[in-house]
Symmetry: C2
Subunit: 394 residues, 2 copies
Amino acid sequence: MAYTEYFAPTHVYFGKETEYLAGKVLKEKGAKKVLLHYGSGSAEKSGLLGIIRKSLEENGIKFIELGGVRPNPRLTLARKGIEICKKEKIDFILAVGGGSVLDSAKCIGYGTPYDGDVWDFYCGKVVPQKRLPMGAVLTLSATGSEMSNSSVITNDEIYPNDKFGCNTNLGRPVFALLNPELTYSVSKYQTGSGSTDIMMHTIERFFHNGPELDFTDQIAASLLKTVIKNTEIALEKPDDYDARANLMWAGSLSHNGLTNMGFESGGDWACHRLEHELSAIYDVAHGAGLSAIWSSWARYVKATDPSRFAKLGKLVFGIEDKDADKAADKTIDAFENTFAGFGMPIRISGLGIDATDDVCRMLAEKASLKGAKTLGNFRVLETEDMYRIFKAAR
Amino acid sequence: MAYTEYFAPTHVYFGKETEYLAGKVLKEKGAKKVLLHYGSGSAEKSGLLGIIRKSLEENGIKFIELGGVRPNPRLTLARKGIEICKKEKIDFILAVGGGSVLDSAKCIGYGTPYDGDVWDFYCGKVVPQKRLPMGAVLTLSATGSEMSNSSVITNDEIYPNDKFGCNTNLGRPVFALLNPELTYSVSKYQTGSGSTDIMMHTIERFFHNGPELDFTDQIAASLLKTVIKNTEIALEKPDDYDARANLMWAGSLSHNGLTNMGFESGGDWACHRLEHELSAIYDVAHGAGLSAIWSSWARYVKATDPSRFAKLGKLVFGIEDKDADKAADKTIDAFENTFAGFGMPIRISGLGIDATDDVCRMLAEKASLKGAKTLGNFRVLETEDMYRIFKAAR
């Protein structure tokens, strides 16, 4: 029996100054004692943490703080959070930051009500059955972690060069406060990288091996057009509210399941897996890693179904060509140009990485667990395919 | 502080044969003893109820049945349901049918954990704080009640000619099983009426008095184009799976809040209120009532902001005209023609109602509670405006 689930229960509060709602919403959602989790400085400097602390105090919410989350978040810090939550009987987590802080909070949320080692969930040994509830105050439009079921962690203790994911419906935040103004200060590079990540969450879903639901394709195209148009505006004028608002909401919808509704497989996701090898070893920005690989992946798999690429190109860029193969080429070029226009690398060299033959071979071996697994489903990739894609992308 | 909430927690299972999941999903969501609530015959005849009964039995879910819901559902039957739920300690409701069955189930859900009279919630005296959880097996793409916060009830005891609503986040179903195949047997007239209702849930949201979020407008346009295209197919070929699938998912997204994201007011809704007067007295299909009124409303309010109509026309129909007023006229004509193409009336006379001056006056007086309230916010309507719109629409 083939069906798709759509489950996006996160209660979103969207608009200016929504961070001021933190205490009130936590109270409504039943929080009594909160772990306030954040990154390494900017939320403090901007005054955001001050606003949130005050809001919590005014609503009688007790809280303990744990900052210091880095991009590509580490297990060590999450373990510290779990220890605090267990000891202090924390009943809710509030993550303030971008996707890394949210993912770290998800890991803490899984680990706290669990007697074993939280790593069990990420290495795939155990499926989590409980999670401490969490909310988010988002400061970056990118990963969509604020509504997604995903979390990605680097186990810096034993696998410092690998990223592991835990994707369950329990991972979806209870609420998210989305104030586009909080992203005004995001740099051009991080804006471009974030927008690429947003687009890739929908592009990965667009390519799959099942029947399509046209309405979902139409929504996907609306989302991609929205991101392209508004990234250009935000890069030019970082404090354009409308542009930041469109990007922020696109980020949430791109990864909450909406753009794979009706597709049984949920998408291809090979590029994400290939990119995780890059960002785990070289600590590059996820979006930049994705743009460095995507067009090489696309040209490699295009022949599987050029008409799918053609449909995407027509919907997003208005590309018309009776020859599906040519339309597919034009579509791939158009996305490549778009990412380049965002200031993103479109080859691995643009990340400052010297991808020698040996490096490409090593990345492919890692991505396939030495041939133990394939990637993707639009076109299933073996180790040799991955190697060729890395080589083409270098 | 101005913000929009988006909260659509319903867990959707979408695809062929999803009705077979009923027992399994109820069990996962914690149900032990269920009220199986449905309409007046078709679900029994088609074998759907048999499938669901078997699924419940196989999963050890006890259940008691209450059928007989009519279109424009009545309070009397809901009261009977509340009595059964209280007496039998029912902990979950499963609604099998279209919007009327779902709305009746919502009313029962509100009334069961409440010591007072459930009517308190619909007449606006009390805001509900609890609700028995409910799930839905949908058989009609129309009202969007499967993900919406809305429910509408007719109090046949004291106000047989009025419809009352209770809209709270508690009203959103816990889960919905959406199998497009179950709508193959929907008649041409009900298909056209359902599609009109779906479109109107988004059109009403498109017109508002606040700033717009372009991404939401783009999604709205995708939804409207999807419904127009697929209704034409479904009217021609009632068992076209893709057409029915696109319509079903459009129905859910049209009323779950997605198409007013970023708009503080949530939309205009004057046409819905005006139509409720028609369907409460004359028991017409809701979608048919909406199409009978909409273009007259649109022409009446157009001058408030013709550019908003022009934007909608451009996005949905590709209408281009530098003169916003002319573009607005073309847009209204295009929607009128669309509804007519669905086999829907575009005037009140098409509903078989003789809307004399006195009738129009009476409807306007009812809609405004004798001048006590206005309708809409794109353009605020007084009693006299309502009267003129009814007159123009007759």
